[in-house]
Symmetry: C2
Subunit: 195 residues, 2 copies
Amino acid sequence: MRPNVDPVEHLIALLAKLPGLGRRSARRAALRLLMDPETRMLPLAEALRSAAESVKKCRVCNNLDSRDPCSVCSDPERDAGLICVVEGVSDLWALERAHAHQGTYHVLGGTLSALAGTGPEELSVAPLLRRATEAREVILALPATVEGATTAHYLAERLEPGGVAVTRLAQGVPIGGALDVLDDGTLAAALKARR
Amino acid sequence: MRPNVDPVEHLIALLAKLPGLGRRSARRAALRLLMDPETRMLPLAEALRSAAESVKKCRVCNNLDSRDPCSVCSDPERDAGLICVVEGVSDLWALERAHAHQGTYHVLGGTLSALAGTGPEELSVAPLLRRATEAREVILALPATVEGATTAHYLAERLEPGGVAVTRLAQGVPIGGALDVLDDGTLAAALKARR
Ligand SMILES: [Zn+2]
Ligand SMILES: [Zn+2]
């Protein structure tokens, strides 16, 4: 009944692309929004537009934030000598929510993977090596997967000759588990018990 | 670390209010959007704005559509003498997806509930009674709940004296089940076997 360019169908199609929303829940979400255009739909549209315009990648650590350098990097109370290396921005956010880390971060943007053809040039490795020359300790908070371990090994080999202490998350990170689905307590414990 | 008005936190809070998205998936969705502001985030913002501006309630049947009367009501090939009464817009959309109904619809906007204090005045009952005077048959496609049955009974008592045939969805609607989570085949069968 609806032409292809129908705004409702178009909205449902875009919502269905979000992680966690299938087509059915996208439809329910669209309907809920349509029932309250003024109080739900337009505020969400405006929040998206505003975030898209204001959020940038931090030039120091690659975090996504409305400030550049990000609010972590520009906080004078954060220990810039202690850099926590994570795979992605979601891991950084998870560690921030856990209030587990008083230093700064470095978002690699992925892990090394021969299979996926991801080499060090595809990741933010060179900027990390530069930052590490001014740091006291680098914590490798990478996922407990083969790729995460490979990446940690690779980074440790390049970092340690520079004299910086290289530590890793210890117990608490389940094998194969992503950091950003862990509860805050587990994250805090794993960070405290780093080796 | 972030002030309260942070655009990212604000976006996550709004996304978390959508049905089907918890706080964790809202965060994942926000991050995914933030990673592609031009190709994902701004198009979604624009789709929301455009839908909010163009979608209205159909003056005839209460459907939500970019046309008023809606695309069903304004389709000359739909049988205006056959009105299918549903609780909500999501039920209308479910029946449309199932291509189960060649007539028109009437969205009640709820079911009668003494507990919730929903009387006939809170629902679109009077407009339905007016439309029914010109109709041949009214199909009561209400949920198989106590409130749905009460509402169907109430409507049948008011409709039948006017001479219109009143039918109901038959087999296939599970007890306590909402229409919009049924598969298309079940919906089509229930409609065909109406009594
Ligand atoms: Zn930063
Ligand atoms: Zn209509």
